[in-house]
């Protein structure tokens, strides 16, 4: 088993784990739990993309992983901003007052 094979199987394993974690989106019970599963999807996707990119020596995939990291962080911050709009101190500027 060569090194790229091992890295690709590790990427597949991480993706399977993340996909199992998405069951939490179905079960809930709160929106925060669902967003946690999405955050795990973000970080697991970063790890799988890095493994894939190094295994196949496709340099551009590492940039894709960097973009996914950025978007996952923005998604979680936007969720927290949205879930606590009436009483969040930080959302004062965005209420249009």
């Amino acid at each position: 088993m060569t090194m790229p094979d091992f890295l690709l199987s590790a990427a597949a394993f991480v993706l399977v784990m993340v996909a199992l974690g998405l069951i939490r989106i179905l079960r809930g019970p709160e929106d925060v739990d669902r967003m946690m599963a999405a955050q795990l999807l973000g970080s697991g996707g970063i790890a799988a993309l890095l493994l894939f990119g190094v295994a196949t020596e496709a340099k551009a995939v590492i940039d894709v992983a960097l973009t996914l990291a950025l978007l996952a962080a923005f998604a979680s911050v936007a969720f927290v901003q949205g879930i606590s709009q009436p009483d969040c101190d930080d959302s004062k500027e965005t209420r249009g007052e």
Binding site: L40, A47, V54
Partner: protein
Amino acid sequence: MKFALDIFTIFAVMAGAFFFLAGTVGLLRFPDPLTRLHALTKADNLGLGLVVLGLLPQTDWPLDTIKLVAIWLFALLAGATVGQLMACAARRGGVNAVELTPSPTGGRSGWGRPKGSEASDLSCPHPNPAPLGDDLLGSTASHREPPK
């Protein structure tokens, strides 16, 4: 030397994959949002960190290596910030308020605040909106006052 680096890669990537396994199991099995967040941040930081650490010997030295480390540092920063914000949202209750105590499974009521009590001891932003005249520093200072 190459063989030793390959062995290091295999062990570090396997350890990272194990942390993702642990994060998934914790996310599915833990009883309340804060413990699930705990398991999730372990998978975020340690799992991704060990995977990146294991991949470092396989990349070209200056640019790709530094880029991988930068991705991990960014994930650490974002994970810490988002974890704090989500813990605040879970404890304070958002649109769907989280009932921390009593939990539906029972028996885990030691750490949460009693139902209906004031949340003034939290380090999160206060649930009641600050007066609009307050700036952020003022609301933080008033937040640190001892509860009356």
